[in-house]
Amino acid sequence: MSLWTRLARTFRRSSHDAEIDEEIAFHLAMRAAQSDDARAARLKFGNPEVVREDTRAAGILVWLDTLARDVRYAVRQLRRNWVVTAAVVGSLVLGITANTTIFTLVNTALLKPLPVADPAQLQLLEWRSAGWPDALCDSHSGNTDGSPSTFLQGSSMSPDVHRRLAATQTAASALIGFSDNQDVIISLRGRGAEQASLQYVSTNYFPALGVTPLVGRSHAAADDKIGAEPAVVISHRLWQRLFGGRKDVIGDPIRINGIAATVVGVAPPQFFGLSVGSWVDLYVPLAARVTLTRSPDDTRPLAEEAKYWWVRQVVRLKPGADPEGTRQVLNQQFRQLVVPEGLTLDPSKVPNLVSLPAVRGFDSIGGNEGEALLVMLLLVSLVLLIVCANVANLLLARAVGRQRESAIRLAIGASRGRLVRQHLVESLLLAFAGGALGLWGAHLLSRGIEVLLRQANGPTLDLALDGRILLYTVAIAVACALLFGLAPAFRAARADVQDSLKAHGRGLTTGHLRLPRLLVGAQMALCLAVLVAAGLLGRSLANIRLTDLGFDREHLLYASVNPWRSGMPASQVDGYVTRLQEELSRIPGVRRVGTIGSRPMSGSSSMTSAHLAGRPYRDDGSDGILLNDLGPGVIETLGLRLVGGRSFEPRDIRQGADAVLVDERFVRRFYPEGNALGQRFGTSREDTTSQVIVGVVSNSRYRSLRDEDLMPTMYRPMLASQDRGSTVHFVIRTAIDSPGLANDVRQAAARINPDVPVTEFSTQSGLVDRLLQTERILTLVSRAFSIVAVALAAVGLGGLLFYAVTRRTNEIGIRMAMGAAPGDVARMVMRDSLWLVAGGAVLGIPATYLLARTLKSQLIGVTSTDPPTTAAALGILLVVALLAAWLPARRAAAIEPTAALREQ
């Protein structure tokens, strides 16, 4: 009978009770007929009510009572064997803490929906067209994904098209517009400047997401007006950090990039925006972009550029609406709105909307980081399996010790099922203790990781405990309990009553510890897999880290300033940059200084396509080239070689200059005959002549360390004043690494212009490390896991050998009595240990290759079957085997034959 029917019966008593009543009535009637005396029968029967209650209770209560008895009994057993209990719970806490922590990361980064109302109703709206819609858009911020020649997908549209579509559409509950997160500098009166993340949002952003400001209001329709002072909703974090959580913050002034704005509201604590991993601090209306990005000497009238597309869109579906149907209706409207009046366009040139689920927001963590997280989850699960094997062996050893107890219980009538259940109840208690402590441990560890990520400028994640994490922990705890509890439970239930009782509890050397050996062998196999994974990841990281950049990365520093943000007019920018460059080169220990548009390995790069006369233009990226801007002195500072032609001269550095340098890869790709100097090419469909190659420089890496990302590169002369709003990076080559240099650079910058701070200071190695952050964390974590795995496996192996020696004391005594030397006995134990490891290796190598296959995407410059790594992992296991066998071997060698035999 199932638990359910039992429970149902307790509540649905009536029909069952009626049956019992009838049965009792029948009995009484029969008794009365027999004795002709109803009263006597009734007296003899006893209180019918009691009988009925007892009868009814037999079902449910017997079941519940035995369970309660099992639990009490289990607690007593566990307390009696408290050393074993502590060892078991301790290992489980270790395994579950690690596992739950990694799952917490996976949960936040890959599973958790956005903290908004009904996130499943949200769809991201992007567009797709055949090739670039040049007639409509000349510049695009967000993501573009150009799939070869067939179509191009873009994420954003112009603010004007967005506003008109949002105002006229009725197919969806709401259409929300927002920008990518932007870095800005904010300052309050009486406080220094600091960096923050800003998002431009439509005024319906908060209400349509169902996010209510904690304090103040969200944006009003009137706030989205060009030229108005920006109304700012600040994040809860910024509110705490900058305003100390003051309730009267509403109406306070705040300067964004030096421009005055007003705080109107505070977002709720858990709301981070729409992109998991980055936390928006400031939300301002779309129209505020004009104000916030304008340079002070710009005299043109305030207006949004019509052909600049930068507004991303999320649509909230009507309840129960079909995403595809909604998209079709919106698409029709969009295709009409996007083509300006008076322009006729071939319909095939007009983009179409596509809709994507946005339950987890946009630009979410995924790809490489997501895979790395899943690899970590896989590794930590292997560690948990090793833990389970250890625990199973501990419990097995104890179950053998309890064989007499089991036999007695069987003899007095307990069913084998009851015994199995009893042991499983014990296992579950252990697992839940481990799970509860592990959950707590994971909570603490997650808090630590949050802090570490913040300090390392990593992704900002909300790692709070939630129902999913709780469920996961319970699930792995139960899975563990079944894994490590079933074997001992069945072992106990299999106890042979006759044998155990007859043998006077003197455990004969029954069996050959087959199951424990199998478990230890499996542990060795898992351990090997984890070691190989850690080894491969480590080698891969070392490979990629040592990749030749094409220049010397040592003693190379970057200092970044943004003169625009402090309101410097364009006319002064070039002079300022030149003066600061001179000032920096005067710092003692500095050998050379140059300026560059994008720092190599900084993660930001520009791309375009080369278009040569007589060669078909390809906008699908197959003729893609990288683009960087080089200021005076940078070629020498980096140490690039000029292989042909000349470097930039002052006459090249002016607005509209056409001179460019290209690298050797560019020459090999586009001018295989090598006659690149003096040749002209362009960078768009109509253009084949705008650039002229004046020199060729040696190859270097600028965008990525991976070989498959290598691309031809062209360099333009850098003119800081030409690139409005962009940061200027100084490249500084020093003679030695001097810790005081950062300070010297800051002082030099302050001497030239105290209003322009150094916003970032980085070393080339630091940039490489930051680019490899995911790989570094993965390597570190896998290394930590492998250490834990080795330690656990060593304990498991050592424990088993010890146990085996104890059980074989007799046999060893006899061997020694017959002339075996202590060395022989020790060697016997060692041999045993090596056999176990060898067995593990045989099991493990195929498993390892399977695991390594899943790592493939994370590996660079090393194959997943790398023999040296496998050999090294086997070597480590061998050392573990010898070390773990050392103590048991000594114990065996120290056995006194006479004493061992007398014990019998």
Partner: protein, 108 residues
């Protein structure tokens, strides 16, 4: 909770044994135990019915309502396959134990 019953094992064995002869109701079981033991064993109804129900729950017996020969509705109990195996086991154990006890009694 039913009272602790020291003879629970024995009662169960007797019930099984009696039902081996064919399905019957609780009253008949009680009567049969009493008469065939020459009234040495008195069955408490307060133990019998809970035991019958417990054994039904655990699948040793199955119960159904039938008419007695006298035309009254009564709950008849019947052995299941599990009940039969259980009977064989418990009976064998019972004989072992009593034989052992007898042996001990003889030797002292």
């Amino acid at each position: 909770m039913p009272k602790a019953d020291h003879l629970q094992g024995a009662l169960e064995l007797l019930v099984l044994k009696i039902l081996r002869r064919g399905p019957t109701h609780g009253f008949a079981i009680a009567t049969y135990i009493e008469t065939s033991s020459d009234e040495v064993l008195r069955v408490e109804e307060g133990s019998l019915y809970p035991a019958l129900h417990r054994m039904t729950e655990s699948g040793l017996l199955k119960a159904e309502w039938r008419m007695t020969d006298a035309g009254r509705r009564a709950r008849f109990y019947q052995l299941t396959a599990r009940g039969k195996t259980r009977l064989a086991e418990t009976e064998a154990r019972w004989h072992d134990v009593t034989a052992a006890v007898a042996k001990v009694l003889r030797t002292i």
